[in-house]
Amino acid sequence: MKLITAIIRESQLDQVREALIEANITRITVSRVSGHGQQIREEIYRGRRVVPNLTPKIRLEIAVNDDFVDTTCQAIIDAAKTSQGTLGDGKIFITQLEECIRIRTEERGGKAI
């Protein structure tokens, strides 16, 4: 099992969710984060375009079984990329997941994902 953590643009959240659902990945956890990367020029403040030093981003956490990793990543990449890829589109991090427990049933492992 793997834990996929993706940092994407706030504006792409709906698109990514729709793409994941289409790829049959329906269980996800989402949170608000702020990021700093290479991105610049975002908002307008009293007639001036400014660089927010921490840009609001969305963080997705998805626990998947090993054979779903590629589909998931590809779905995210396709939906999160803006016009052929622009600075600030985000990152995906993958880590090893040792155990997964469904609280409701106390099932463990792959079938609890």
């Binding site: 706030e10 504006s11 792409q12 959240l13 709906d14 698109q15 608000r32 984060v33 702020s34 908002e43 307008i44 927010p52 030093n53 921490l54 609001p56």
Partner: protein, 430 residues
């Protein structure tokens, strides 16, 4: 700063009533307070990404409609009939240039009356915005409300409130619309419904839930609306006396009854009384009493509030069944509540009013049913006119500028797409 207390008489020799003027000034401020109140009410109900865009719908109306009002709105509403009474016109009213020192019959400077009325012209289009929130193009919205104000609001206002308006003179003593049941709420609600149908539902509606971003703000907005509504209704007496007191009392009674009944109905139906339900009930009560505040007594006002809550509750259940997307229930509350109020008031009219009407009627009698007929005609005309003109305007704008946000902009949210800002920066560490 210390000046001008000498101006106690207008050009035409009418004596100033400083008390009536004081209350009308206050009412003007109170009705203006309703605009941020509405912005809060609506803004709290949309999703986080659309909060500024939605509030801008109200705030922009403050800019656009006020400017238009000064330029020509007051003239179109309260000038003498032109084009067969379609609307009014009076060149002296253009830029309000001719009323600089004029005092109206009741002792109130005409400027104050004009400004008070101008606030109604702001809030009406702002109410419509609730119906198509979260999916309209900002520029098109601006053009739409400007045109809607000129072509729908101003004529309707003229018909109902100008002394030579044809609804003002319908029946024996006129169609009763004390503070804007037809002019404001029905016209806004119906136009909203048409627009919601024309634009189509939001992306993902109704399968996705679109939870309110800030119900706390919605509640505060409702509180400010209630306070402001005292200006709206009691101010519509254009004086500071018994009729003002009657309107204020009816307003309070109806709002409270509306709130309480919605709470009870929802409690029985769903097992829980929600905050949004309570404030929806407040609004339903306030909307229903708007046309009636001048003619009903407290008990009647409470019945109106109760009935409005019940019918609006039902209307929203039906909406959910039928599945059209009137985002913030502009029709479900303002349209339906306004209709309930305008018709039902007939059964609770103060005797003195009916006597007056009888005295003015041919034959010297005037019955509740006759007045009901008058009310029905007025309501029907408001519905038909608003629906038709709105449809034409939407059609034209859609062909020329496009009305609806692109799917991409809808997903990004209006705040980012049209204003380049975010409402709640605090949500992210900064």
């Amino acid at each position: 700063m210390l000046s001008g207390t000498s101006l106690l008489f207008g050009d035409d020799g009418v004596e100033l009533d400083s008390g009536a003027t004081a209350w009308m000034l206050t009412s003007t401020a109170l009705v203006l307070l309703m605009i941020p109140g509405l912005a809060m009410f609506y803004g709290g109900l949309v999703r986080t990404k659309n909060v500024l865009g939605t509030m801008m719908h109200s705030f922009t109306a403050m800019g656009i409609m006020s400017v238009l009002w000064v330029i020509c709105g007051y003239s179109m509403c309260f000038g003498g009939n032109v084009l067969g009474g379609w609307f009014g016109w009076n060149p002296e009213y253009v830029f309000l240039s001719g009323i600089d020192t004029s005092i109206m019959e009741g002792g109130v400077p005409e400027y104050v009356f004009s400004m008070f009325q101008g606030k109604f012209a702001i809030i009406t289009p702002a109410l419509i915005a609730g119906a198509f929130a979260e999916r309209i193009n900002f520029k098109s919205y601006c053009v739409f409300i400007a045109l809607w104000g000129l072509l729908v609001y101003n004529p309707l206002c003229h018909w109902v409130w100008a002394e030579d308006g044809f609804l003002f003179n319908l029946g024996s003593n006129g169609a009763i619309d004390f503070a804007g049941g037809t002019v404001v709420h029905i016209s806004a609600g119906v136009s909203g419904l048409v627009a919601a149908l024309y634009l189509g539902a939001r992306r993902g509606y109704p399968s996705d839930d679109m939870a309110p971003s800030n119900l706390v703000m919605t509640m505060i907005g409702a509180g400010l609306l209630w306070v402001g509504w005292f200006g709206f209704n009691a101010g519509s007496s254009i004086t500071s006396g018994l009729s003002t007191a009657q309107a204020l009392t009816a307003t309070q009674a109806a709002a409270a009854a509306g709130a309480l009944s919605w709470m009870i109905i929802e409690g029985l139906h769903q097992g829980k009384a929600t905050a949004l339900g309570l404030v929806s009930g407040i609004l339903a009560g306030l909307v229903a009493i708007t046309p009636a505040a001048g003619v009903v007594q407290p008990m009647g006002a409470m019945v109106l509030g109760l009935a409005a809550s019940a019918v609006c509750y039902l209307a929203i259940i039906l909406k959910n069944k039928w599945g059209y997307d009137d985002t913030l229930d502009a029709f479900g509350i303002h349209g339906v509540g306004g209709i309930v109020g305008a018709l039902l008031l007939t059964f609770f009219i103060r005797d003195s009013w009916m006597e007056e009407a009888a005295a003015m009627a041919e034959g010297g009698t005037w019955t509740v049913l006759q007045q009901l007929g008058v009310q029905t005609v007025a309501v029907f005309i408001a519905i038909a006119y608003a629906a038709l003109l709105t449809l034409v305007l939407l059609w034209i704008l859609n062909k020329t500028m496009g009305l609806r946000a692109s799917p991409q902009n809808e997903m990004r949210g209006l705040d980012n797409a049209y204003h380049g800002e975010r409402g709640y920066g605090m949500l992210n560490p900064n």
